[in-house]
């Protein structure tokens, strides 16, 4: 059997509805783009194998619905994520402003052990729209926000044109991986018959 260890990374994509989360994922996994907008219901799941520094990974991508009515899915969805991708639309200031809420929400719900160093990646999507003329969030502004949140890596992408998508996900994989490196030795107890008079000591000391 293959002894080579494979790693699975859980990646959550968050952001306002319509910023292009599903399109980014589709571009990345299936190399496809559709202009037609279809709201994600609840969540979509895709997997992609990635090679990185001679190792194979599987990205388990959780594409969530942006609409607020789905936010109740919270805790369970975010649990055990290896990386969180925050997406906004460079043509929508509101979607950018909301990044803060998404980030906060994620940290509350997922409650990672080290919230300050939890790997986020920010994507400013739809840079292709109108040749960039309708853009309202400048790259500078976005980068400043990322820097203020502990140097979150930032990418400007176009799911439609496939710009920077591959690079962004490479970075996502890399960061997700970093956070999962620390491993502990698995050492369960051994039954001590001599001292504990009752062997079925599964938490019932009566």
């Amino acid at each position: 059997m293959p002894s080579r260890r494979r790693t699975l990374l859980k990646v959550i994509i968050l952001g306002d509805s319509g910023v292009g989360k599903t399109s980014l994922m589709n571009q990345y996994v299936n190399k496809k783009f559709s202009n037609q907008y279809k709201a994600t219901i609840g969540a979509d799941f895709l997997t992609k194998e990635v090679q990185f520094e001679d190792r194979l990974f599987t990205l388990q991508i959780w594409d969530t619905a942006g609409q607020e009515r789905f936010q109740s899915l919270g805790v369970a969805f975010y649990r055990g994520a290896d990386c969180c991708v925050l997406v906004y639309d460079v043509n929508s200031m509101k979607s950018f402003d909301n990044l803060n809420n998404w980030r906060e929400e994620f940290l509350i719900q997922a409650s990672p052990s080290d919230p300050d160093n939890f790997p986020f990646v920010v994507l400013g999507n739809k840079i292709d729209v109108d040749g960039g003329n309708s853009r309202v969030v400048s790259e500078k502004k976005a980068r400043a926000w990322c820097a203020s949140k502990g140097n979150i890596p930032y990418f400007e992408t176009s799911a439609k044109e496939g710009i920077n998508v591959e690079e962004a996900f490479q970075c996502i994989a890399k960061n997700a991986l970093k956070s999962g490196e620390e491993e502990e030795i698995y050492l369960p107890d051994t039954i001590d018959v001599g001292n504990s008079s009752q062997p079925r000591s599964s938490g019932c000391e009566c």
Binding site: M1, S3, R5, R6, T7, L8, K10, G42, A43, F45, L46, T47, E49, T58, Q60, W62, S72, L73, G74, V75, A76, F77, R79, G80, A81, D82, A110, S113, G180, E184, Y186, L187, P188, D189, T190, I191, D192, V193, G194, P199, R200, S201, S202, G203
Partner: protein, 629 residues
């Protein structure tokens, strides 16, 4: 709708023997006490079934699909026939083989996954199959029974078919469904989708899911998930929960590396091993004195500080001994023997392995010493001392050296001292060994046990019993002889077997007398069961699996908490007459020819009970006093 008592539309169901304490021993009297009361007031409903043409069969099948799998009514059973009725199989997935797909694999040249009790893995190839599949594969979607283990973050841990990583999206979907329900402060147990059942079992951070269209009852599938979880605990203990508490994104697949085969072998055993639903173990038939001798050897070892000592032949117990107050649950024995038998490395050398007995103590490890005497017979010693565990590795080297020097100078009659002397002498050649050290003494006891067993006739008797098999329905005593004249029916049969020409004459191709095809007797006090050997017409693995599934349904309907527990059930469909009889002392499951007469079948069941009683010293492990609380 889905209870056995309310859907007797096409089979007959009878309640008999209202006597709460039956007396199966005096057979004449017992029969008299079996007063028949037919619940639907019509004992002849079965007739229409019996002579029903193909049209009826098809109707029943369709009904089975519509009704859903948990219905123990005859339509459910009718569905069991699955691919045996031609013409309906195009869109159906093969029922005969839940590992396969009908379109791909047929009954004959395909992979046959169920084999008789006596050779459970003869034609079964261990390990995972169809690794290349994922949830996009049509073949994967058509598999009849899927098992998944995933973490509460949706990371896949195990999948029966397909590659776990390729199924990461599917795994995430399952987690999303579970979590969605959890968010509403509720818990998901079962989803029915057409003829598929999706059964969920949530064990803290571990989620287990079975997706099945095998029409097994929900309780059976849930029980199988429980065992699957137990198997995982046996390998890792419940300490994995701590890992998830500390780190929700914890990936436990590396810890389970190489154990695919253990899980797939367990899942396979759901098809052929009745212990998986009876929650009882079975013994290899042996002369009482032989089993006593084996028990005495094990007792000596147990006295030297071992928690449990078991001598097993495949999944059957030869003998077992437990330290004071320590009791071994039949489910633990099942999981332990599955673990040992499915892991090839135990066979190739004497081994020590940390294991956890989930029913004994799910939080901590024990250490198992496993020694195979031959391909099927192995000794397992479970100790709490990890110290011994590591020390024993050294001792083993010593043992090998002694063997190599062809100087196995153990005085087995005088077990203790001279052995110690010999071992110490050899061991001190390369490492000082203190004979007063308890670990050394422990090991020497183990060594002695091995040697004593090797020199005794126990192992040859085990081999013989394997070849001769157990109880055969053909051998059911025909006449209710006075008990004194047939003290050991099984032994008589043994003698018969030694002259094959006489024996072969006694084999008839139609099962036992009065159409008895098969039975399982479960002793409630002993936590043990005995199952008759399979003989025609229940000869193919598919037929055996189908019968076990029918028993399983019977078991579930008898133990149904809502409407049960029942005392008796008589059920006739086009495959069998099934009779189940539950008392305070035992449970009897019997299958007859579908044309069998009811009164005769009941009479036969009494004879089976009598027969079991007559040979109980050979088929059961008796008086294992320290074994239970």
């Amino acid at each position: 709708m889905s209870t056995s008592s309310s859907s007797p539309s096409s089979d007959e169901e009878l309640i008999f023997n209202p006597n709460p304490i039956p007396k199966p021993i005096d057979d004449e009297l017992t029969l008299a006490s079996l007063t028949l009361t037919e619940s639907n007031g019509n004992g002849s409903v079965g007739e229409s079934d019996r002579y029903g043409g193909a049209g009826v069969v098809l109707e029943a099948e369709r009904e089975g699909e519509r009704e859903g799998p948990s219905s123990p009514s005859s339509s459910g059973y009718a569905g069991e026939r699955g691919s045996s009725s031609e013409g309906t199989s195009n869109s159906r997935i093969g029922d005969e083989d839940d590992d396969g797909i009908q379109e791909v694999i047929n009954d004959h040249d395909g992979f046959v996954d169920g084999v008789g009790d006596s050779s459970p893995s003869a034609s079964w190839v261990p390990g995972k199959r169809h690794v290349d599949e994922d949830d996009a594969s049509i073949s994967w979607r058509k598999r009849k029974k899927h098992f998944f283990i995933l973490s509460h973050s949706g990371k896949p841990i195990y999948s029966r078919y397909g590659d776990e990583h390729k199924l990461a999206g599917f795994s995430a979907t399952l987690q999303a469904i579970i979590s969605f329900v959890e968010n509403g402060k509720d818990r998901i147990k079962l989803v029915r989708a057409g003829k598929h059942q999706v059964v969920f079992l949530i064990k803290g951070p571990i989620y287990l899911v079975c997706i099945s269209c095998t029409e097994e009852p929900y309780e059976s599938l849930r029980g199988q998930l429980e065992l699957l979880y137990g198997q995982m605990i046996l390998i890792l203990t419940k300490s994995i929960n701590r890992c998830f508490e500390k780190n929700p994104k914890f990936d436990m697949t590396p810890l389970l590396g190489g154990t695919d085969v253990v899980f797939s072998s367990l899942i396979h055993s759901f098809n052929w091993n009745p212990a998986t639903f009876l929650h009882a173990y079975t013994c290899l038939p042996l002369a009482y004195a032989t089993r006593q001798a084996a028990g005495a050897v094990l007792q000596d070892v147990a006295d030297s500080g071992v928690l449990f000592a078991l001598l097993m032949c495949k999944c059957k117990v030869v003998s077992l001994v437990g330290a004071q107050k320590a009791s071994l649950h039949p489910d633990d024995m099942l999981l332990l023997s599955n673990f040992v038998m499915s892991s090839e490395s135990f066979r190739t050398s004497e081994s020590f392995s940390p294991i956890c007995l989930p029913r004994y103590n799910p939080t901590a490890f024990l250490y198992a010493y496993v020694h195979y005497f031959d391909a099927d017979t192995y000794l397992m010693l479970l100790t709490t001392s990890s110290d011994a565990f590591y020390h024993l590795k050294d001792c083993r080297v010593c043992f090998i050296l002694i063997q190599r020097n062809n100087n196995l100078a153990f005085d087995v009659t005088n077990k203790g001292s001279s052995c110690v002397a010999t071992v110490v002498r050899y061991h001190s050649c390369f490492q000082p060994l203190d004979p007063a050290n308890t670990t050394v003494q422990l090991w020497i006891q183990w060594l002695v046990a091995t040697v004593v067993l090797l020199r005794s006739n126990v192992l040859s008797e085990v081999q013989r019993s394997m070849l001769e098999g157990g109880m055969r329905v053909e051998d059911l005593p025909v006449d209710p002889l006075p008990r004194s004249s047939m003290p050991h029916r099984l032994s008589q049969q043994r003698i018969l077997t030694q002259s094959p020409e006489i024996f072969s004459e006694s084999i008839v191709g139609i099962g036992g007398p009065t159409g008895l095809w098969h039975f399982i007797y479960r002793s409630i006090y002993l936590d043990q069961y005995v199952s008759s050997d399979f003989s025609p017409p229940i000869s193919s693995p598919q037929q055996q699996k189908r019968l076990y599934r029918a028993y399983q349904k019977l078991y579930c309907s008898m133990h149904d908490k809502g409407i049960g527990p029942h005392k008796t059930q008589f059920r006739r469909d086009e495959n069998y007459v099934l009779l189940c009889w539950v008392t305070q002392d035992f449970e009897l499951y019997a299958a007859f020819d579908p044309l069998a007469d009811k009164a005769v079948a009941i009479k036969t069941c009494n004879r089976v009970c009598q027969w079991v009683k007559d040979v109980e010293n050979e088929i059961f492990l008796q008086g294992a006093s320290p074994f239970s609380w």
